[in-house]
């Protein structure tokens, strides 16, 4: 079971996020929705780990992180 392919999860840095809405508007799967402060909340089930949110975030506030299958 050691060689499970790495999975990824989306992390939001709350302190850096300025709630601009870019990641939410352009996510191809609507995997991000705005919380009451306008910052993204992530839905792991529909996310395809494309990384577009990370590339277009002006604040380095959202990124994909590799986790192993059990992590």
């Amino acid at each position: 079971m050691d060689n499970n392919p790495p999975l990824k999860r989306v992390i939001v840095r709350e302190q850096w996020c300025k709630a601009c809405g870019i990641c939410i508007a352009f996510c191809p799967r609507q995997a991000l929705s705005a919380d009451t402060s306008g910052k993204p909340t992530w839905n792991t089930d529909v996310c395809v780990r494309c990384g577009l949110c990370e590339q277009r975030c002006p604040d380095f506030a959202i990124y994909l992180e590799e986790v192993n299958a059990l992590g």
């Binding site: 508007a25 990370e54 277009r56 380095f60």
Partner: protein
Amino acid sequence: MSSLADKYLRGHKMPHIWCPGCGNGIITHAVLRAIDQLQWERDDIVIVSGIGCSSRAPGYLDFNTLHTTHGRALAFATGVKHGNPRLKVIVLTGDGDCAAIGGNHLIHACRRNIDITAIVYNNSIYGMTSGQFSPLTPTGSLATTAPYGNIDRAFDLCDLATAAGASFVARSTTYHANHLRDMIVHGLQNEGFSLIEAMTHCPTYFGRRNRIGGPVEMLKMQQEQAIPVQRAASMTQEQLEGKYLIGELHNQQMPEFCALYEQVIQKAGGGNQR
């Protein structure tokens, strides 16, 4: 495990000062992704900027950085490159910084084909000083200095750089962030002067005044207006009205300034210094 931000940003300076949704961070991230892809040694890289919102970028970057005076980034960068041609010199500059006050430095850096990569953050406006028009503000747009609409024609900065002698010229947008990274990679790899015009957005002073909307609407506008150069070949002049080309626009190898200067040093009997 960690993000590029952890690897390359001066974390204690974050969050950065730019407004919510400002495109400056998207371009800066693309620059970091390009550098990371090339796996260049951090200590070999020097990042130089002038003055403006965009020119604050190097302050957040954990490399050798120089934040200089308005319009003079390319002049400082020329000095750095000339002094030690082994360094990889990158200039981050605004449309005002590069095309207005710094326009003369730009054309001569192009003409010399000195091995520097300039990334122009073109947000169509002077952001830092609250929205005066720049030489890249589209005709008809509103600015604090053009409350009835800008009557000037904008430069096509890519055509200008090409005509002035740059060996690599490309354009992309913050919407096309991956394409932008690729253009920067190609520019960095080119031995000679490279200019990458990154079309970006200032929601605070351009978007609001011109009633385009916020950052999301401004990115959608880039998506609509940017036409890949290959696709443009099969479009009519009419269809291209109000659009601009993105992609590699010019790529022609030419002798590089520092290499030519090295020959001068040899001819003059020197050459042990470097």
